[in-house]
């Protein structure tokens, strides 16, 4: 019955959590999917927690929230504590390693930790850590193609940020590679 994929992306304000969801949404729109992107954040200007729920579906979406997620992309400990139990059995939990003190322990879901911030630093821009994570996510759940994510980035980035396109593209690819290396190791 369900052709929808529901993702929670959660972390602190400023980590690019909402943008990651937006870019994923645009890419899915390019592919002709139905989208719902629902932001949730605190009243603080900076810091505070932020998350967004993205649903990508082949059919029209009714409720923008459901009680369980197919995937979670987590960028801080409070979000991990809050959402780890809400991933469906068999689902995916992807997290940014440096921000997590107590890693998730569930055995009925796929858990992948990525050093996205460190990788972003290597690419000389810590701001692209979210794209490293998105690349990693899409490697395991190819709900949209990387090409369309890049297309979406072109549309989403304002004119004065277009020069950041190549580094974002690199970050996406690096995320994909990281996951492939990880999976390769475990096999």
């Amino acid at each position: 019955m369900t052709t929808a994929h529901e993702i929670i992306i959660a972390g602190f304000g400023g980590q690019g959590v909402l943008s990651m969801g937006q870019i994923l949404s645009y890419a899915a729109m390019v592919e002709g999917k139905e989208i719902s992107w629902m932001p949730s954040y605190g009243p603080e200007m900076r810091g505070g927690t932020a998350n967004c729920t993205v649903i990508v579906s082949d059919v029209r979406i009714s409720s923008p929230i459901l009680s369980k997620y197919d995937s979670a992309i987590i960028l801080n400990q409070p979000s991990l504590d809050k959402f780890a139990d809400h991933v469906k059995p068999g689902g995916l939990l992807l997290y940014e390693k440096s921000t997590i003190i107590n890693p998730p322990t569930r055995s009925d879901i796929e858990i992948i930790g990525i050093s996205a911030v460190a990788e972003a630093h290597k690419l000389t821009s810590k701001q692209v850590a979210n794209m490293v994570l998105l690349g990693a996510f899409l490697s395991r759940r190819p709900i949209v193609s990387l090409e369309n994510v890049v297309k979406a980035l072109k549309q989403v980035l304002p004119a004065h940020r277009q020069h950041l396109l190549p580094i974002n593209e690199q970050a996406l690819k690096r995320g994909k590679e990281l996951v492939n290396e990880l999976i390769g190791e475990s096999v």
Partner: protein, 386 residues
């Protein structure tokens, strides 16, 4: 942020309300930014000047709505947008618009109350504050969209009603409806604009003009009629006061004509009540349970109703878009054969349920209520099956 090559775009409910307003012919917007209504304000500031309109950032909400009333009195279609705390400030002036028969659309994007409450949290706690904000207890039309597309469509409708009736209309949205971004297929949107207020003054000669002039600003032959609009600053003298007045617009105490004019304010809407009923009915003949919902919660309700039917449980659904005036005929139709009514809303005690209960004859009425978080399909399903 647009894909000009595609007719499908990602849009928030707030953006769609602004775009709906522009398509409806709105030429003046004044607002004061407030989460979660700021998206409407920002989109109007971005788009309205390019559409031959004026968008103003007002110093506060009281000024914002007052600017709008002034512009509407001059003949322009106007809109403002706010959330709970700002609405509290606008309540005095929205009554002035009602009393002076000035068309106006107010988008009220609800957030968690009371007071400044939760600026970034949703809620459906302003339903009765929107409706029962007038001293005297007058009915204000309240329209409630459930998604971004309906934000567009109902905004155009809100302009039509406000123009036809010459009265303020409230568009009751909420944080999740306003700020959730969805895919919108522009090819499925209507090209219709809104209707205009009755204003036909093509005088053949000065004598006719004088005759019309003597009739007064609010001249009507029957209580349900809508007085013909003349703009302030036009050929004709216009009198406007928030105090009780006669057909000339002159302040009067308790003259029969003045009382008639007060009754007229309610009667003009009551007369057209059925035309304005707007619901989505999804009835099952054998159903004994009816789920009533509105706004964002109706989307979870839709999922829940589908899930209940999947397990063989017959259930009917009524999504109400025109919350006020209450669509009594359609409600009665949906209640036919029903034994139990479940009203789903994101507030503490069931605000809308409290006004619906009097229309339920013998049915058991229960609520699914919650504050601080959205109601999930599962919670509604439990109530349906329980």
């Amino acid at each position: 942020m647009s894909f000009s090559s595609s007719v499908v775009q990602l849009r928030s409910g707030n953006q769609m309300m602004a775009e709906g307003a522009i398509q409806a012919g709105c030429k003046f917007f004044a607002g004061y930014p407030i989460t979660p209504a700021t998206g409407i304000f920002k989109t109007m500031i971005d788009l309205l000047p390019a559409n031959a309109g004026v968008a103003l950032s007002a110093p506060d909400e009281i000024s914002a709505i007052a600017y709008c009333i002034g512009a509407s009195m001059r003949g322009f279609k106007t809109m403002t947008a706010t959330s709970g705390p700002g609405w509290s400030l606008m309540i005095e002036s929205v009554q002035y618009a009602l009393m002076t028969e000035t068309p106006l659309v107010v988008a009220l994007v609800q957030r968690l109350g009371p007071s400044t409450g939760g600026a970034t949290q949703g809620g459906q706690g302003d339903v009765l504050l929107a409706e029962f904000c007038t001293s005297g207890g007058y009915t204000l039309p309240v329209l409630c969209p459930t998604n971004a597309k309906e934000c567009f469509e109902l905004t155009i409708l809100a302009f039509t009603w406000s123009e036809i009736l010459r009265m303020p209309v409230i568009l009751l949205s909420d944080k999740e409806t306003g700020m959730t971004v969805e895919s919108i297929d522009y090819s499925t949107l209507s090209n219709a604009t809104s209707q205009n207020r009755p204003s036909n003054f093509a005088f053949r000669d000065y004598g006719e003009f004088q005759k019309e002039q003597r009739k007064g600003t609010y001249y009507i032959d029957a209580l349900q009629e809508i007085p013909t609009f003349a703009p302030v600053g036009g050929d004709r003298k216009v009198t406007a006061t928030g105090s009780a007045h006669d057909k000339q617009g002159k302040l009067q105490k308790n003259s029969p004509e003045t009382i008639d004019m007060l009754i007229h304010l309610e009667e003009k809407l009551r007369w057209r009540h059925d035309d304005f009923s707007l619901v989505n009915m999804d009835l099952q003949e054998s159903a004994k349970t009816l789920v009533i919902s509105y706004g964002i919660t109706s989307r979870a309700a839709k999922d829940a109703v589908g899930a209940a039917r999947n397990v063989g449980h017959a259930v009917s659904s009524l999504v109400i878009q025109s919350l006020f005036p209450i669509p009594v005929k359609k409600l009665a139709q949906a209640l036919d054969g029903i034994e139990r009514v479940v009203v789903v809303e994101e507030n503490m005690h069931g605000l809308y349920r409290s006004v619906l209960e009097r229309y339920c004859n013998g049915q058991r009425v229960q609520g699914v209520n919650k504050i601080g978080a959205m109601i999930t399909p599962k919670e509604i399903l439990n109530a349906i099956l329980g």
